[in-house]
């Protein structure tokens, strides 16, 4: 009788434990609870940030500033004295108006996409293109010399103007199987200052490739077809061709 009771107790404990584990695992990993991976990358500086403001956008600014060595405090989302000084330092270094306020120009220099208020031009600008292009450069050509980065961006832009490619920057970048950095998700890394600068230079017309539509790394290229392209220039690890 006693022995049976113990067995029953054990049985109940184990079943309860199992059920609990089962349930908790379901809740954590359940398909109805997918993690929003992309939320890290789409933070928009939609408002002007200054001393005293708080929020996720402040945190992003702090994060960027500390990555570039302007800010040494904690990324706590509170715009305090340290953030203020860091922003001023950043502005001075980039030839912006030194006022310690993250407005349109500073947000752009920080590489944050932003929504413009209701002006006459109604939010028509180039910042989205700039940011996307910068991410593509960062994913594809991080380790390349500066001219190589601009060249990669120029190829993307040349493709938008070519008849045999999609006609938008996003269309070209996200064309299936076109860029390895897109396929393996490296495109979602936060671009660094150099990549943003290179994107701007390319959008402003600098094309070191003289109209090239292709580039590949001869050491790692997997497509046999790419070797049928005509090479015109070699920059860093990449070959550029038409």
């Amino acid at each position: 009788m006693k022995k049976g009771e113990i067995h029953l107790k054990k049985f109940i404990i184990i079943t309860t434990a199992l059920t609990m584990i089962f349930l908790s695992i379901f809740l954590f990993f359940g398909p109805e609870n997918p993690k929003l991976i992309s939320s890290n990358y789409t933070v928009f500086a939609e408002r002007v940030l200054y001393w005293g403001t708080q929020g996720q956008d402040v945190k992003t600014v702090q994060d960027k500033l500390s990555r570039w060595g302007f800010y040494d405090g904690k990324a706590d989302g509170i715009y305090g004295a340290r953030t203020y000084r860091a922003v001023r330092k950043f502005q001075a270094k980039h030839g912006l108006k030194v006022d310690g306020v993250v407005g349109l120009a500073t947000a752009r220099a920080l590489g944050l996409p932003h929504a413009v208020g209701a002006t006459a031009s109604g939010g028509v600008n180039r910042s989205a293109d700039e940011y996307l292009l910068a991410r593509a450069i960062h994913g594809e050509a991080r380790g390349e010399p500066y001219v190589g980065k601009v060249a990669v961006a120029a190829v993307v832009l040349n493709r938008t103007r070519s008849s045999s490619f999609p006609n938008t920057i996003a269309g070209v970048i996200y064309q299936p199987l076109a860029f390895t950095a897109v396929a393996d998700g490296q495109i979602n890394l936060t671009p660094n200052m150099d990549s943003i600068k290179a994107a701007r230079d390319a959008l402003n017309g600098w094309d070191p490739t003289y109209g090239c539509l292709y580039y590949w790394n001869p050491a790692t290229a997997t497509s046999k077809w790419i070797w049928s392209r005509k090479v015109t220039l070699k920059i860093g690890k990449h070959w550029f061709g038409i």
């Binding site: 199992l18 695992i25 120009a105 008849s163 999609p166 299936p176 090239c212 070699k234």
Partner: protein, 455 residues
Amino acid sequence: MKNRKHLIPPAILALLLVAALVWGYNQNQIRKQHEITLENYYQRLFFDVKKHIENVQVNLSKALVANSKERNVLLFSQIVSEATSAHSKLGQMPLTHAEVANTEKFLNQAADYSTFLIQRHLQGEEITEEQREALNGLQGNSARFNGELENIQGSLSDQNFLLGSMSNNQGGEIEEANANIFQTSLVQLDKEFSKTPELIYDGPFADQMVNRKPVGLTGNDVSLEDAAKIAQEFLGEVSIGGIEAFEAGEHVDESRIPAYTFNVFSQSQNEDMAIYLGVSKKGGKVIWMANPRPVTGGKMSVKDAEERAKRYLQDKGLFNMEPNYSLKYDGGVLFTFTNTQDDVIIYPDLIKVKVALDTGEIVGFDASAYYMNHKDRTITDPHLDQGGARAKVKENFVIDSTRLAIIPKGKDEVLCYEFKGKHNQGDFIVYINALDGSEEQILQIIQDENGTLTF
């Protein structure tokens, strides 16, 4: 007591096993769900493309029957929209560029050609015999395309294969026999498209536009050594530590502007801070120069920087260049200069100069547009006077300034009156053809504290 201890390890193992199973099951469910989502998306794209191509085909046939310009304009505008949609969706399907390059080109040019014909019709011109022939060709191609998609649709429903399974192979070997049907049939089609004759017309995607050669470069070819000397002379005062040419490819002469590209290390800076230059083979002109050094603490005013840029161009022997737009970014200001002749502004002859606001040094120079387009021009007298042209602009457009300008139009150039002004709080430029009074172009100007962009 002893009994219980004995049970602990197997119990833990059993728990772990259950946990792993649950986890694995869930992962599998998630994966399946993603696959289904992707598959549904691809299927939708496929059926959309099919519908769009069908509409292109039908509208092209109708356009060949239609006799009035009004009807044709409507049909062509539908072709533009359907072909553009098909093109955009085809570019999202799991196919490599190599497999669909010519198909994409066909769709792009079908839309572009239709736009060209709309313009012709609106100018009151009839379709010529050659254009009818070209339309016939486009119609045949869209019919072939449609037929191929019909076949694929057949095998899609027969064998129930999944389009999403194709995105896994990187253009290498195709494992799935079913995927083969899809790919080979489209690749075959793509090959056929590559054989179709070139469309002769005036539009951004016309082959003649894409394969344009620089007309502003004349003279003999220069050697690499001479080009290096030209590059050093161009940099002038900068103390040069070393100059290195980027390796050219085998087909360098087929690029848009055949050129030598250099990497110049200045003595004052460290090795990786290089200045880059491109020197054209023909005529040995510096096409572009860039010094991407970081600019810190810029104090110079935009006005002073503009003076510097102007003087710089004069030093380089580029006279009559007039600054018109500026854009401040990354510690520098980028100025756009355009050529002028007899007080007429010539927009195709465009040079960009970037000035660093810390030292006033020129850190960027780009004359590729200038050398692509520059030539000796004889500017005809306008047939229309300024008042006559003003009458062609919207009445409530508030004009700030007016002048004559030459703007690019396809592969040609047209003489226009340029009206800068405001409408509905926005800044615009309206171009009225100075010969026939047609409204050639409208640009919207976006201004902010950093400068000006045109759209």
